[in-house]
Symmetry: D3
Subunit: 242 residues, 6 copies
Amino acid sequence: MARPDGRRPDQLRPVTLTRGWSTHPEGSVLVEFGGTRVLCTASVTEGVPRWRKGSGLGWVTAEYAMLPRATNTRSDRESVRGKIGGRTHEISRLIGRSLRACVDLKALGENSIVLDCDVLQADGGTRTASITGAYVALYDAVSWLAGRKSLAGKPERVMHRSVAAVSVGIVAGEPLLDLCYVEDVAAEVDMNVVCTGEGDFVEVQGTGEDGVFSRAQLDALLDVASLGCLELAEAQRKALAS
Amino acid sequence: MARPDGRRPDQLRPVTLTRGWSTHPEGSVLVEFGGTRVLCTASVTEGVPRWRKGSGLGWVTAEYAMLPRATNTRSDRESVRGKIGGRTHEISRLIGRSLRACVDLKALGENSIVLDCDVLQADGGTRTASITGAYVALYDAVSWLAGRKSLAGKPERVMHRSVAAVSVGIVAGEPLLDLCYVEDVAAEVDMNVVCTGEGDFVEVQGTGEDGVFSRAQLDALLDVASLGCLELAEAQRKALAS
Amino acid sequence: MARPDGRRPDQLRPVTLTRGWSTHPEGSVLVEFGGTRVLCTASVTEGVPRWRKGSGLGWVTAEYAMLPRATNTRSDRESVRGKIGGRTHEISRLIGRSLRACVDLKALGENSIVLDCDVLQADGGTRTASITGAYVALYDAVSWLAGRKSLAGKPERVMHRSVAAVSVGIVAGEPLLDLCYVEDVAAEVDMNVVCTGEGDFVEVQGTGEDGVFSRAQLDALLDVASLGCLELAEAQRKALAS
Amino acid sequence: MARPDGRRPDQLRPVTLTRGWSTHPEGSVLVEFGGTRVLCTASVTEGVPRWRKGSGLGWVTAEYAMLPRATNTRSDRESVRGKIGGRTHEISRLIGRSLRACVDLKALGENSIVLDCDVLQADGGTRTASITGAYVALYDAVSWLAGRKSLAGKPERVMHRSVAAVSVGIVAGEPLLDLCYVEDVAAEVDMNVVCTGEGDFVEVQGTGEDGVFSRAQLDALLDVASLGCLELAEAQRKALAS
Amino acid sequence: MARPDGRRPDQLRPVTLTRGWSTHPEGSVLVEFGGTRVLCTASVTEGVPRWRKGSGLGWVTAEYAMLPRATNTRSDRESVRGKIGGRTHEISRLIGRSLRACVDLKALGENSIVLDCDVLQADGGTRTASITGAYVALYDAVSWLAGRKSLAGKPERVMHRSVAAVSVGIVAGEPLLDLCYVEDVAAEVDMNVVCTGEGDFVEVQGTGEDGVFSRAQLDALLDVASLGCLELAEAQRKALAS
Amino acid sequence: MARPDGRRPDQLRPVTLTRGWSTHPEGSVLVEFGGTRVLCTASVTEGVPRWRKGSGLGWVTAEYAMLPRATNTRSDRESVRGKIGGRTHEISRLIGRSLRACVDLKALGENSIVLDCDVLQADGGTRTASITGAYVALYDAVSWLAGRKSLAGKPERVMHRSVAAVSVGIVAGEPLLDLCYVEDVAAEVDMNVVCTGEGDFVEVQGTGEDGVFSRAQLDALLDVASLGCLELAEAQRKALAS
């Protein structure tokens, strides 16, 4: 069964990571997974929230949001509705946890970094693109702190791992990598996998949207996701080397 | 390494499912996983939300909350703060998805069921206890609808699967089933697994709290979780038979 | 005219006060007035809110809430609606005032106690059951503080009075004690009375729901309420003695 | 012991009821109890809220608020804080209940009247002044509806009773009528009493602010309040006759 | 074409500025532009908001609101809706900017003044009446501070300019001064102009409600507005002299 | 006195209008005024809000927002704070009014268009760039409706005027066109001017930030703004022709 854009089942969409897309933030990356386009910025504040003062530890957190017309039909703004929806909360928390997994907060010292992931255009996989792009923005922000001699440890210690994420799913019985929107809607099982550059897992979230899944299906999805994440880690390395 | 309550690594805490704990709801269950105590109620409304009218499909949703002093230190009420926190949103959505996985919404017909899971006392595993208890409350609510001849299909078709959930984690390198609070805090990896009575997966959420996990560790956690869920399914069957 | 449960006009429903119902709070009581069931917890914090610091006085406050399906039809959660309703505010304030009337805040010293009264099941008289149960939870919390030598005065000075509360009403022209839900709905006049163990009044709130009431009717209601409160004070003494 | 303005214990402050103070509302009254000044307006809408349609019954409700600098120190606006406080809720509900007690909602027919009581200047007794003034504004609004032949019954049937309210309290052991702010702060017991023009009670709310009160004290307070309300009813009659 | 109240095109409505309308605030003015009636109060706090501490500068801010029935049909309260509307925000900001233009914040010293402008009755021009009245209330508040020797500079230095404001508009092709409500609704162009007593501009806001306007029309409007503001400045001087 | 980027006083920054920047909306334009970068999207819904049904008129509205790190220091999200700030409200209203001035709502027929202007990067003039870009997005959305034969009138009738906007200000005594951020901060007077392609005014908003301005200064600012708007209108024409 053919994918809408002719990809092989285990093929990523074209991935681009444009560093320095905006001028103000300490790190900023426009990440694209095919038609999905997310602006990831890393904002540094010296000091930490009050409850963390004196701990010697830094703080990394994330906020995810979509522009109202990032999707096919317009959504009301959460600022206008006066509250954050459940999906937004859930994804913001996932991004924050994933990024904290690659940072040594002691080596960061009492600095705070907020990662803002704003979806400018959505075509499936916005949370995984966000994590993948935010890692690069975070790296640049840590380098910026290093340049100001504001880190408690060495920068390579602060960023002691890389993280990347990809969605996988079972569509018409077949495991597919990096679902676009029409595949996501059709998926029987949907999984988001966050991995380190070494191939370990940071987070695994699998959901039987309309059905359930067997251990064998789960294994097949993890296989394809692991490979996809390694490929994304390579793209991150290249972006950071350029 | 000994567990605080002397359990074997793959042993559940004592589980009780008290049906009919409160008199008003169409289904109500007080579920206890050791010191964790959740009141699960199922509330039936004939009809469905406006956006679903005329579809012939029913609707099942869930809301999770904690009493302010369910935990060791008091938390502010979300009603007082004026908004639902990210964690509450995330868990409510998980419970709703899990329960919808066991219901045939066409056979339910245009009826709505809200599952309220209110944690009266927390000692780890509140979301998995909620899912396990809510399944029994939902079953009773569907039977109530059957008694009123209000279902579109047969009750056994409506509830075509059972679901139960359990937490697992790696503590001091060892996979443990059904973490209590002190184990949860100490866990390197934390996973919530929702399974059907047949042993298929409905949802898998694994998080490396402070670290990362290998495929082998993931496999070990899934093994112990699957067995735990089967045991909980058996407890559900017994409760419904009594 | 017979009462639904066959009680005499001046008879309370069966009252139970279960101390230590939950393990985390410094005081916790499950209070039942017939089918009305409220979990009252007392949470101690050392120190007082900022505006009270250095005054030498303690602080006691209360929050009342109902589980969504405590009643016959489900109510939306106030946390989901994003605001506290007028009825909730009114009752929380009444409970707080009533409990402060039995505490010597100077003898309490700069400690804060929050009383949470969560209605698990409602059948009329939830606010009066809350006050009656919260007194016992508060007593236990003050004893806990005494055990830690954290009080400014002697415990019997801190709790220098007991308080209990009961609802009364005129139904079909007759004054009735401790209305259950169906009586409450039918009442022409509805009154909540809070008394000390010595029989003095702390708070009197009478409302002509559908009508008005004469001084003679008011007097008859106060008579029956005073006796009811004395009986509840006795139940509190027994619970605290056990 | 002398009152700050030299009144006798059972003497009201000067009361003025200025009808037609503003031009837009169907009824508008500026009520003054000494230095307390409340603008009461009655706004008519033909039709009733959705949940009441087809019942044949009208609807009367009230909203109370204070301008930020009605008091000696400025309070934040509730609109700015984004929520209504408990005190505001409590008083709005009291005013609404009190005014509904004097209206025959069947004779009103399916019309809605909102009573807005905005305190322009506060010197004690704002809720009782609000009720007293709102009655006159409501009367004018009902007359306006009568003039448009929009009532289901006769106007004298719609407004089948008058209501007025006054505060009383025990200060330095003595029962005082119509407390001004400094007396209110000093009161050991504080009571708000709403009466009909015939002297029946509509609502009685007594609170031992810092202490408790005996039946004898309660009786003394009710005596003085009843007389005060009759005097206010007379002032209402005069205002409506002019 | 005749104006509803027979005014000449360049004629203001009767303007009254009643100082000391309420007793609590440090400055309070009831300003009337014909049927528009706004209560302006100035509330002084010694000290400034935290972000301004130690700057030596004072702070002046404003809040505008309408009573629900100030207008012909009742509006919901912003406190009940839980948020401030866009129009309210816009006008509050305009008043604040305009009043800050006449104050030397250094001479004011670290004192804060909040100007509350509450519209009791609206008939067009509520924002311009608010600015005109608030200036007088602010002047009185600064005099009050001078009386307490709490200013950093001389009072005439603090209030180094006066400000007044008026609305102008083009109705049926003709420039009109100080629009009442029916004129405002009919206006093709609507402009609010804030001027100093010397005739300089502080703020100019012109809007083509239903159309556009030429430079010539803009010039004509500015001419008539400038004269109107000078007349209002004279009324302010008289009010302050009395 | 030199401008930071070497421009002449009456020179615009480089302006780009990229149509079709995102794929989902009916109109989408990335507008850049130098370093200011705003994504303007136009979202069409067939039908109008309820209060407008049956009027035969369409509806055009706008929402403005900034990404949290569009500016030099990160701002909290309005969705997280739970409310829209005054500045956001004010600018959204300005954009909506300005765009409605160029649309014949009768010719549009009962269709709704929402213009979302999201600032991705800010360097002064974000509101004027938004208006200028939103006009082009709106034009494309109207063409899209024309292509679906959904307009009540001819498209050239619907868009019977063009609008563009620019900021001007007086810095160090000199009138400057199209202020960048550092100029905006230094401006004594700040004015936003919205003009049609024919050079008429739609909206004029001038503010003496720290001072006041004379009629002569106002005239000089209007002169330079008018020329700037004509240049922007030409850029819009070119973008729409390509």
